[in-house]
Structures are given as structure tokens and as C-alpha cells.
């Protein structure tokens, strides 16, 4: 493994990636190969969601995990999601609803081809871990209609009052013990072994520890990472198919060493065009990114010397930096707590507090919100969040709008214009602060 700070050239001549990014890409590719080889290997497939995913549990039943959100992201990055969204709308899905769902439905209608060019296998089970997003429930009802396979609901109550109650934990543990596990046993033909789950949870905790180390490295100046655009690479394995595996432990150990090396060298983050150069602005970002124009969006930041030091999106699959670790001693309870604690299952006041703390703890110049047209779970309430964070931190906030995977809603000129205005505002604040001093 290469842990040198010097970047490695990616496959495409004009894209530079850290070694960890290349490794992550290889892991994801290997997973898609495993998934599409199911007709030959005889493995069974469990489709599920990123927030509140029960990867350790799924692994206990030797099921291969398929994540429709990640597939939609891949289609966004590969610029195929636009045609899929249109296909779904042609089939009667509203232009107003989640574009992840429509990308997925459209992809199925157009042959259900995975990023490796091979057809996705039909899932044997849909594990509807209903956490933090109402749309998930409808999405899997739609997929159930399509695949006509076993569907398991795990309902996670919402942290409306900002706390987890014993009633919530008991409810979830009982669902896990009496509904989820017996059904997974039935589908997989594998008997549940709680010690196997404990082992996987212990592995998760190790990987989580290193992920947190990496994310918190952004407190340094310069930040060695971009915790939003780069962060999406970093969270991939642990939010996806690898939590609870040896691969994840190795990846996050490797990533930690790589980032530590960047810190030792005083380096900033890597961008698709190489090292970012001098760090001029430090931002906290709320909301998912746009994936159809991901690099173009990122470039608008690094061209201005702006680095994202913390983001909420990198917490949708688990809020580890606030201290949560999977606990092998309380296997079912810890899964419940994990699901309850993901970012989008937190109340608005909790989210605002988290973002305000990020601005302070990471020494950010302010908050930027990328509001997603078709994601109410994130978007509803963001204008109030913006005002509250501004009020609490005294730092300026700004607002741009795009969509997850619908290219029709990415207006580059508009976003760039707003970002430039925002950076000017930050400069003005700095100048005012200097003159006041």
C-alpha cells in the first residue's frame, strides 16, 4: 500500500486521486462484481438503505448488500441518471418526488444494468430500514411491487424530542429479534448466530474509530481533507457494503495513515486536479451534494481555495464523531441506537446544534447549505437552520440549490455566482473584524 503524500494518477489522465480514493474505488468495483456474479455464485441479495443500514446483521446471513441509493449516485456520477429519471416520469412518477427513487425505477425499466455493465440480480429480500426519510418506505413499496420478494420493515422512531427513550429501544429490539432476524433466517436459510454479529460489530467499531480520526483531522490548518467532496469517498466503504468487514478495517487504517502523512507534510486536501493550494476559506456544508455535476461543483470550491471542514451529509450513515460506536456487548441495542442516531433521524434543533458546533470546533468561516430539490428530509427547514446557525455562531451562511441526480436542476452559473458572493461576504467580515481589532 502506498501511503505517500504524493498523489497517484488516476485512470483518467486528468483526474488525480489519493491512494485511498483509488482503493475505495476498487472496493466498490469488487462489490459490484460480487453482486452481479450472484447468478453464478448462488449468493442471495438483500437490498437496503444507507441510513440505518444493518450491514453487520445482513453479513451474518451471508447476504450480499445492494444499496439503491448508491446505485443512483453511481448513475448520477456516470451521467445516466437523467435518462432514468425521465423514464420513470414517463411511467407515471411525479416530477416532484425524490430523484433517487426515479433513477432507480428508470434504471430497472431500462434493463437494470450495474456500473460494471452487467445486469443487477433481483433482490431476494428488501430490508426496509425506515430511518430518517419517509420516502424510503414508499421506495421499497414500489420495489416490492416490481420484484415481488420478501420485504422486511424495521421502523425507527424519530428523535423529535432530541432524545432516545427506552420505549424506542425496546420497540426496535423487539422488531429486530422477532421480525427482522427470523425473516432473514428464512430468506437466507442461515441460522442467526449472535456471536457472529458481535464479531462484526467489533470490527465496525474499529473502522469507525479511524473514520472519526480522519474526519476530525479537518480541525487542523490547513485541513488535510475536504470533508464533503473528499468525505464522500471516505464514507463510501463504511456507509456501504463494508461496515463490519476486515476490508473496512484495512481501508480505514490505510486512510488514517494517508491522512496522517498529509498532516505531517502540512498538505491540504487532494482535488481532482491535484493538491488544492492555499486554504483561503473553511466551510461547513449542510445537505447532500449534486452528483450529476459532482466534479464541476467541487471545482467551484477548490478554485477559490475553499475547503469543506465538516459536513452533515457524511453523517447520514452514522454520527460517529459525536461518540457513537457499535457495541458488541449489546448487539441488538447497539443496532437500534445506530439507526436512531443517524443525522436525518435527528430533530431540527439537534441538527442546528451540530452544525453550529462544527462551525466553532472546526474554525469555519461559515455555513453553506446545498439544498436538494427532491429531498424533503434534508431540505425542509434549511432556511431556518441557516438563520439559526448564523445567529449562534456570528458567521455568515449561504444557500445554493441543486438536485441529487437530476441534471435538470443543476445550474452551474447560478451556483457559482452565489458562491462567489458568499466568499466576498466572508472577506468583508474578515475586513470588518480586522478594522474592529
Amino acid at each position: 500500500m502506498n501511503t505517500n503524500v504524493a498523489t497517484m494518477k488516476g485512470k483518467a489522465a486528468d483526474v488525480e486521486k489519493d491512494a485511498s480514493m483509488r482503493k475505495q474505488k476498487e472496493m466498490m468495483a469488487a462489490h459490484y462484481d460480487r453482486l452481479t456474479a450472484v447468478p453464478q455464485t448462488g449468493e442471495k441479495v438483500c437490498s437496503t438503505f444507507v441510513p440505518g443500514n444493518l450491514n453487520e446483521l445482513i453479513g451474518c446471513f451471508d447476504l450480499v448488500n445492494n444499496l439503491p441509493e448508491v446505485n443512483a449516485i453511481q448513475n448520477g456520477l456516470r451521467r445516466t441518471s437523467g435518462q432514468y429519471v425521465l423514464e420513470a416520469e414517463k411511467l407515471g412518477h411525479s416530477e416532484d418526488v425524490c430523484t433517487y427513487v426515479k433513477s432507480d425505477i428508470g434504471m430497472i425499466a431500462k434493463g437494470n444494468i450495474a456500473p460494471n455493465g452487467k445486469p443487477f440480480p433481483n433482490p431476494d429480500v428488501l430490508l426496509l430500514s425506515y430511518t430518517g426519510c419517509f420516502t424510503f418506505m414508499k421506495w421499497f413499496e414500489l420495489l416490492r411491487e416490481q420484484y415481488q420478494c420478501e420485504t422486511i420493515m424495521l421502523h425507527t422512531p424519530y428523535m423529535g424530542d432530541g432524545k432516545v427513550t427506552p420505549n424506542m429501544i425496546q420497540y426496535m429490539v423487539k422488531q429486530l429479534r422477532e421480525e427482522v432476524i427470523p425473516k432473514l433466517e428464512r430468506v437466507s436459510g442461515v441460522k442467526f448466530d449472535i456471536d457472529r454479529l458481535r464479531e462484526r460489530l467489533a470490527r465496525s467499531a474499529q473502522a469507525e474509530e479511524n473514520l472519526v480520526h480522519v474526519l476530525q483531522s479537518a480541525r487542523r490548518r490547513p485541513s488535510p481533507i475536504d470533508a464533503y467532496f473528499g468525505g464522500i469517498y471516505y464514507i463510501g466503504p463504511i456507509f456501504g457494503a463494508f461496515r463490519g468487514t476486515e476490508d473496512a478495517i484495512q481501508y480505514y487504517r490505510f486512510l488514517r495513515e494517508e491522512i496522517d502523512a498529509r498532516v505531517a507534510a502540512g498538505a491540504g486536501p487532494i482535488t481532482p486536479e491535484g493538491d488544492m493550494g492555499p486554504e483561503k476559506y473553511r466551510l461547513v456544508v449542510e445537505g447532500p451534494p449534486n452528483y450529476t455535476n459532482f466534479r464541476q461543483f467541487w471545482k467551484m470550491f477548490y478554485d477559490e481555495g475553499a475547503v469543506v471542514v465538516a459536513s452533515s451529509y457524511t453523517k447520514v450513515g452514522g454520527v460517529y464523531d459525536l461518540g457513537f460506536r457499535h457495541d458488541p456487548q449489546r448487539p441488538l441495542e447497539t443496532l437500534a441506537e445506530y439507526c436512531l442516531g443517524v443525522y436525518t433521524n435527528r430533530s431540527l434543533p439537534m441538527r442546528i446544534e451540530m452544525l453550529s458546533n462544527y462551525v466553532e470546533e472546526y474554525g469555519a468561516d461559515g455555513l453553506l447549505i446545498n439544498s436538494i430539490k427532491s429531498c424533503n428530509s434534508f431540505s425542509a427547514g434549511q432556511l431556518l437552520m441557516m438563520r439559526e446557525v448564523e445567529k449562534r455562531t456570528g458567521k455568515p451562511a449561504a444557500f445554493v440549490e441543486s438536485d441529487l441526480v437530476d441534471p435538470r436542476y443543476f445550474s452551474a452559473a447560478n451556483i457559482k455566482n452565489r458562491l462567489e458572493s458568499y466568499f466576498q461576504m466572508v472577506e468583508q467580515r474578515r475586513a470588518s473584524a480586522r478594522s474592529a481589532a
Binding site: 418506505m137 420497540y171 431540527l348 427547514g381 440549490e401
Partner: protein, 391 residues
């Protein structure tokens, strides 16, 4: 005493509907010291618990087409539905300044997030996200929900400074059972003779149930049923439709009127489901919270906000509603940007197609002003049913 006629009753309901300052609820509150009002949003909250605490449950379903939204738009992007922004407008403009608590039921991410916004914007008002189970086993979802109900009961008890007794809860269940029975009677009467009870009148009567104490609302319904039966109204050559998707943000009253003017008798709908959410009598003996919990699990309406565990059952509630009401088609009227309604719609449409039931779809906002396109669409749908159904 002279029995009021339908026009008088509807005029009263209409006045309540148009009153965006909620004067009747304010008067109720000020009529005795210590009274409290608890607001709630769609789809469902167990109003029995609020009633048993001696409080007035007040349904808040947005501001409609008569409220000018000035502040509310500043809180929401253009791609978010209208009900939260007009509800915020009601709040920041002081129209809800007499409300002591707000409940935000589990319906969608927008209302869910609004619950947190309310906590921040109105920190002195008790506000609670009201979660309901998506697991329908008595010993799993039932236990969870009974405990949630107990937490709500205890919170309201704290708010009023006295416990809410089981006896009071049972009495409230009796009052709401009576009310739901009357609502069902009205809906059944409309199925039998839709020309006797226009959809707009039924709607206004249901809206009155959101602001009146339940006993007064039941009386209103009784009076209306008696008055409606006493007078024959002209029968039109309309087709019969079920209206679906209108369970949260409300369509303008003119939209409901337009459907009938366009040739459609509305014989069933999912408007204001809270008034008939529980589909069977709630037992009045035993543990009242347990009874409410089990009623929710096993005898409540199907709608987009509820998970349907049985794949074969998906959409069948709508097919059954069509059969029961002898409807000839379904009108899907969904608020723009309404995730639950719009995501559910394709599945419901598939179920209707398999059952050979025609449908038409359009979107609206609570402040939609132009009814001509909707009238044309509904009129064409009615014509197509009359011309080609059964061929």
C-alpha cells in the same frame, strides 16, 4: 324549537372555515379559567386524550386560499409544499397565539421537520412530534404505541397540572365513538344519495369538526343529517367518483365545488381523515390507551403515510372504497410536492387498473386560484365515464 335547515348549518360551518383567527376556539378557551387548546396537524392524533385532559383539540390544516403568506415563504424553498409555510404564517402572525401545544403527526418529512422548527420558533409552546408504529403486531407496535400514548397523556397532564384519569379517557372515547358514528352515517348517506349532500357541504361539516368541541360537532352533524333528509334536492346526471390524495394539504373549497359542477358526485374521499381515522368503535371498557392503540393497529384507515405490510393489499383499500361507494372512477388530486401522495399514486393506479377502474390525476396547492383547467379535466373524465364505461 325549530330545526335548523341545511343552509343555516352550512353557513355556520362556513363561517368557522373562513375564520383564520379561530374565534370559536378562542371563545371556548376564554369561557373558563385554565382551559387549554392543543393544535394538531394531519393526518391523525388521538383526540380522545386531549379531550380527556379537558383541552380542546384544534385541527390546523394550513391557511387555505384566503391567507396571504408573507412570512411563511421565507422559511421554505419553492419546491416544498404549501401547508408548512401557511402554518408558519398562522403562527408568526399571531393567529395561533392562544394555542398551548402543537402536535405534529408522523406523515412526511416536511411535517416532521416542522415539528423541530416549531420548537425553535415558539419555544414556550408545548410541541411534540407524534410518532405512530409502522409495525402492526400487538406485542411490538402495539406496546410501543401504547407507551407513546401514555407519554402524551402524561405530558398533557403536566400541562394542565392534574392527572388524566382512565375514567376521563373512557368518557372521551365514548364522545368520539359517537362522533365517528355520525361522520360515517353522513358518508353513507352521501353514498346513497349524493345529490342530497354536496361534497362542499360535507367538507365544511368535517372542517367544523376540527375547531368545535366534539359534543358540539356531533350535534351539528345530527342536525345536518336531519335537515338534509327533510328536503329533496335536485338530482343531476353526474358520475360518481372517489377523490384520493387530499389527506394533508387541503384543496381550495372551490376545487371541491368545481368537481361537482364538472359533473362528478364525490361519493368518498380521504379529506380530513382524522374525523374517521378509526374505522370501528373503540371499546370503552378495559385499558383505554391499550384500546386506542389496538384500534390504530387493526381498525384504522389505510393511507400513504402508513406502511402496508401485505403486498397484495397495496391499493386495495381504494378499490374497496370504489366498490363500497359504487363509484365509477377515481380522481387523484394531490398537492404539489406532496411526497406521500405522489409516491403512493403509481401503486394505487396500478391497483385500480387491475380492477378496471378508470382514474384521472392532477395537482393543486391550497391557494390554487384557477379552477377552469381542473373543471375541464374533471368534466372530460365524467364524460368519458358516461360515454364509455361498461363498453
Amino acid at each position: 324549537m325549530t330545526m335548523p335547515d341545511t343552509a343555516t348549518i352550512v353557513a355556520r360551518a362556513s363561517a368557522l372555515f373562513e375564520d383564520l383567527h379561530f374565534s370559536s376556539a378562542r371563545e371556548w378557551k376564554s369561557a373558563a379559567p385554565g382551559r387549554k387548546v392543543i393544535g394538531y396537524m394531519p393526518i391523525y392524533v388521538p383526540r380522545e386524550i386531549i379531550h380527556a385532559a379537558g383541552m380542546l383539540p384544534l385541527g390546523i390544516v394550513g391557511g387555505g386560499d384566503q391567507l396571504e403568506v408573507i412570512h411563511g415563504d421565507a422559511y421554505y424553498q419553492s419546491y416544498i409544499c404549501r401547508i408548512p409555510r401557511s402554518t408558519i404564517e398562522l403562527g408568526v402572525s399571531g393567529r395561533l397565539d392562544f394555542v398551548d401545544g402543537m402536535l405534529f403527526p408522523s406523515i412526511c418529512d416536511v411535517i416532521r421537520n416542522l415539528s423541530g422548527m416549531w420548537k425553535l420558533m415558539f419555544p414556550h409552546v408545548y410541541s411534540r412530534y407524534f410518532d405512530v408504529p409502522q409495525n402492526y403486531r400487538d406485542d411490538i407496535g402495539g406496546n410501543y404505541y401504547a407507551q407513546e400514548l401514555a407519554e402524551l397523556r402524561d405530558a398533557l397532564a403536566e400541562l394542565r397540572g392534574a392527572p388524566v384519569t382512565d375514567e376521563a379517557l373512557r368518557a372521551s372515547i365514548v364522545a368520539y365513538n359517537d362522533n365517528r358514528r355520525l361522520v360515517r352515517e353522513l358518508y353513507d348517506y352521501r353514498i346513497a344519495q349524493p345529490w342530497q349532500v354536496p361534497a362542499a357541504e360535507v367538507y365544511l361539516l368535517m372542517r367544523a369538526g376540527l375547531v368545535l368541541p366534539v359534543e358540539q360537532h356531533s350535534e351539528l352533524l345530527r342536525d345536518y343529517l336531519a335537515a338534509a333528509r327533510a328536503v329533496e334536492r335536485p338530482r343531476r346526471d353526474n358520475c360518481r367518483v372517489v377523490v384520493a390524495g387530499v389527506f394533508c394539504e387541503q384543496p381550495p373549497l372551490n376545487l371541491i365545488k368545481s368537481l361537482e359542477l364538472a359533473g362528478c358526485y364525490v361519493v368518498d374521499d380521504d379529506l380530513l381523515l382524522v374525523t374517521r381515522w378509526l374505522t370501528a368503535e373503540v371499546p370503552t371498557d378495559g385499558d383505554p390507551l391499550q384500546n386506542l392503540a389496538l384500534a390504530f393497529l387493526h381498525h384504522s384507515e389505510s393511507t400513504a403515510a402508513k406502511y402496508e405490510p401485505n403486498a397484495r393489499e397495496k391499493g386495495q383499500h381504494l378499490v374497496r372504497a370504489v366498490r363500497r361507494s359504487k363509484a365509477e372512477g377515481v380522481i387523484f388530486a394531490s398537492p404539489s410536492f406532496c411526497d406521500p401522495a405522489l409516491l403512493d399514486r403509481p401503486m394505487l393506479q396500478h391497483a385500480l387498473s387491475e380492477a378496471g377502474i378508470p382514474y384521472v390525476s392532477f395537482k393543486y396547492a391550497e391557494n390554487s386560484g384557477q379552477m377552469q383547467p381542473i373543471r375541464e379535466q374533471a368534466g372530460t373524465f365524467a364524460d368519458s365515464i358516461k360515454l364509455w364505461s361498461g363498453q
